[in-house]
Amino acid sequence: MSIRLLPGGSKKKNKKRNKAETVFEPAVSFKRRMPWLLLILAGLFSILIARSFYLQVIDRKHLLELAQTQWRRTTVLTATRGEIVDCNGKELAQNLVVYRIVAWPQSVGAGDKERVASELARILDVDHKKLYEKLQSPTVREYVVKRQVDKSVADEVSALKLSGVGVLQDTKRYYPYGTMLSQTIGFTTIDGIGQSGLELSLDKYLTGRNGSYITETDNKGAILSDSVINRIEALNGHKLRLTIDTFFQSSLENALEEAVKVNNAQNAQGIILDVDTGAIKAISTKPDFDLNSPPRSDMEALSSLSKNRVVTDVYEPGSTFKILTLAAALDSGSTALSSSFHCGGGYFVNGERIKCWRHAGHGSQDLTKATENSCNVCFMQLALGMGKETFYDYLYAFGLGQSTGSGLPGESSGIVTHQKYIKDNDLARIGFGQSIAVTPIQLASAVAAAVNGGELHTPYIVDEIVASDGTVVFKANTAPVRRVISEETSANVRRILQSVVDNGTGRNAKIEGYAVGGKTGTAQKYDKYGQVSSGSYICSFIGFAPADDPKYLCLILVDEPKVGSIFGSTVAAPFVRRVLSDILQYAGIPKNDINTSTSVIPNVTGMSTSEASEKLSEHGLLGIFECDGTVTMQVPAAGQSVPYGSSVLLYTGQEGINTDTDEPFYVSVPNLIGMTPLAAYDALKKVGLTMDPDPVDPFGVVVAQGVYAYESAPYGSSVKVYFGAAPTNSPTPAAAPTETPTPTETPAPEDTPQPEATPTVAP
């Protein structure tokens, strides 16, 4: 067969076309194979269609879930934390706008990461290496570079226009008054979660609920217009309106701060109540801390500083408690205003002689006089006269033994021993405020009931909780809980307490132009073993005004004052006086007609005590001081108007340690060697000294003493006493702690261990 190679395109050959075509006809195999080719192609296309169906229909859900994460970005709408305001709407806790610097590593250009990292590290003072690593990471979608950045810093970052770096708004909790109400308000974490105080206990009201929205973005993070999906608005937190008045609060806090300072005390606590409603107008414990920078690094100190001791700590109230005994005795009818009491310096109950603080006794006195004198014997008789059941009914009616329900976090219920276990001598002690423990707020609330006409109110601090739309979510209930004593009894109690301030131990609380009622109190503290702690006292004063129609009540406690004269009348009363004076004027309560002449206190600091006394007496005032020396501080301060004849406390800064004092202030130290801890304690106590045992948990017998026997030591000072194992020949077991007497067995229980009247007796 001749095969023609590549036929040309000439006319001649084209004419032979029909012949040529037979030669070049496609092979038979071609026609046979083409359908197979079609079939193979059809098969391949079918596979691809199946594959497409798998991706688009069968595996769709799974793939879409993965895809969603790259298409969408969830943005949180931060709920604003509720504000806390005082009764006048002044902000105690508010929110500041700050900024949060965020980086989206995927949106930072690959070649730009180093620059972005170093710029941000420079401006924000963050670790460059860590930031750079985050920016490099393929998995991190969002990284918070720094939080709570000020506007100026945020502006600096924005100005750089770094791609993939965002400046978002953030909020920061801010307390405009800093330290004010620090234990009560409490603080939050950086994320705005309450950690203490009301911020913690009412967190669910304050927090609100964050909202969010989802936006669709392109691959560079640009938000697509009109792409907001599922927007949930943030629900802002509720506003707390407290009963606190910042004026009352700052007045109280200033007084407490000074009380801690001048008395060199461990702490001071105070509360002001509105006696008609139970509203807490001010509450504080000093020392405190700045809410804007709580000392988070020292957890122990912080937890101690954030303790709202006015509600958490219990103490033996001492004489201030006599108000309740008085009210109960008068209301029960077991005693009358005209009743007469005789004090011989002590009183036998169940065969035990319980001493009055004045060992010489107060002689014969009526009820008013006995209260003015704070006579223990009288109040023992009142308690015993009522009997256990009646007295206990009143104690419970006054709200003792249970928490007041103020809603302040961590409130204690106090300790009221069940009457089953109470003997007559215990009952007698309760009469003057021992063998019973209360919280300051319990006492304040009970006394408020005794003087306000007889009705007990629940003390409260949250006046109302208002939602962001204005709805009132919670409103405090100011209705009285119960009537405790009759109005008439209450009026009598007020009158007697006013007399205490006018003529008795409460003299230092007297305010010119206002009728003030009140009662002093000094109580010994118990150490952690339940022993009476030597030399540690809590001095308190509870005062209310105006005495004839009380409006406000103020209780101040000074814990462990370290000055020579440790009495409620000198340590606490002047501060209550100052606070009441401030708030009465602030509240616009009119002064009485002043027929008593007043005098302005001159400045006597820097003078010697004798010069100062002379200068004060020129102004018709009485200077009171414990030790001679140079006056370093005076209470009340110079420039204040006080009634003619008032006393001014002069501090010389040498109280208790002054070796130049007169003979009466020195005592002879007894020989303690070989004594048991209890005996040594008693021996020192007898002469007016306190014991500083070493080890603190004493055992065995005294082996040495810090001051030798028969040497003199300042009255009221403490003597170091060293204990050790008992000599072998001594059969005394060295189990001192087991011999520790219970508080009620303390041999010499006294309300005011030192003569309360000495410095303050009216001339």
């Binding site: 190679l5 590549l6 092979a27 071609f30 194979r33 083409m34 497409s52 991706l55 688009q56 793939l63």
Partner: protein, 399 residues
Amino acid sequence: MEQNISPIKFTQTQTKRRRRTYAAAAHNRSIDFPLFLAVCAIALFGLVMLYSATYYKGIAERGDSLAFVKGQIKYVMIGIVEMYIISVVPYKFYKNKLIVIGIFAAIILMLVATLAFGQTYLGARRWIQIGGFEFQPSELVKIGLIVLIAAYMSAFPDNMPKFFKGICAVVAIIALPCTLIYLQPNMSTIIIIVAITGVMLFMGGAKLRYFIASACVGVPAVILVAKTAGYRSDRFTAWRDPFADPSNLSYQVVQSMYAFANGGFFGQGFNNSRQKLLFLPEMENDYVLSIIAEELGFIGVVLLILAYCFVIYRGIRIAMKSEDRFAALVAGGITSLLAIQVLINIGVVTNSIPATGQPLPFVSAGGTSLLVLFGAMGILLNISRFINREKKPLFGTDK
């Protein structure tokens, strides 16, 4: 070449030439009109979808929603005209001995020039700049080799069942061009050339046992090369487990799969793609089908595949009805080329095969690919003018 040719002008010249040169009977016959329409329809549909796919990218990167479409519109218009013009040039022209030699010389020249003066992009030297036009010679080489192989096969039909004079001779034709392309490198083009050569050997009558034998050697060899060598082994891993490294190695294919998934059965609707918001790179190019799948859904994908299948069916029909061996082989080769390119593209974007760069014919942006394919369709259309028009069944003629 585009500036001085218009259809009207051409018909005038054609009428003069008709009587003088080729058989008038042939020229009176018309082209395969359904094929012509189908190709135009796919190209116009492609324009619309390309516009949608690149709308966001155009604005984001060039500030113009039409940035990626403008050039494509031009090429499609030129391409349709070009297709028609080439459909008028009788295919016998390519059978000319001198022309065949010229084609081979041109292939070698172009590939050498590409290696010598070509533009390097992403480590490969594949483009040469002619005027302002970037041209990828390897696209044209594919068509040239189809013509060369067809010419050899039709000239020596008896050699085809033989091993040396058949298969080896054909392999020898593609050896040098493939070597030059390998130097670029451009593996996907080599794969397509090898595949086309195989299909043409099959159509040309090579013995099936040679196919089976070469498949037994070739497939393991390809897998071995793919698994061992550099970026190709990465692609192999990315194909088998795309979610092992979705943000890097298999980023494109994972994004493509997301697009398919988002499309679902009915699609998100025209212009509603999410993946075109810069998530899917190369959305104007190899991955344009992903956006079509997202916007028009499974239905859209199936319809487009059916359109390609229709074109392929018409091409094979032309090959089968062709009475000239050369024409039949050229028509079969061109149709196979189209089919292979569509298969590879869809295979890649659906992660059915390892990733390789292959545009979707008539849809993906790119001038060279479009003009070469329209030209190839022109040749096919010209062959369709000469087919046997007797009404007889396409299959089962050889009883």
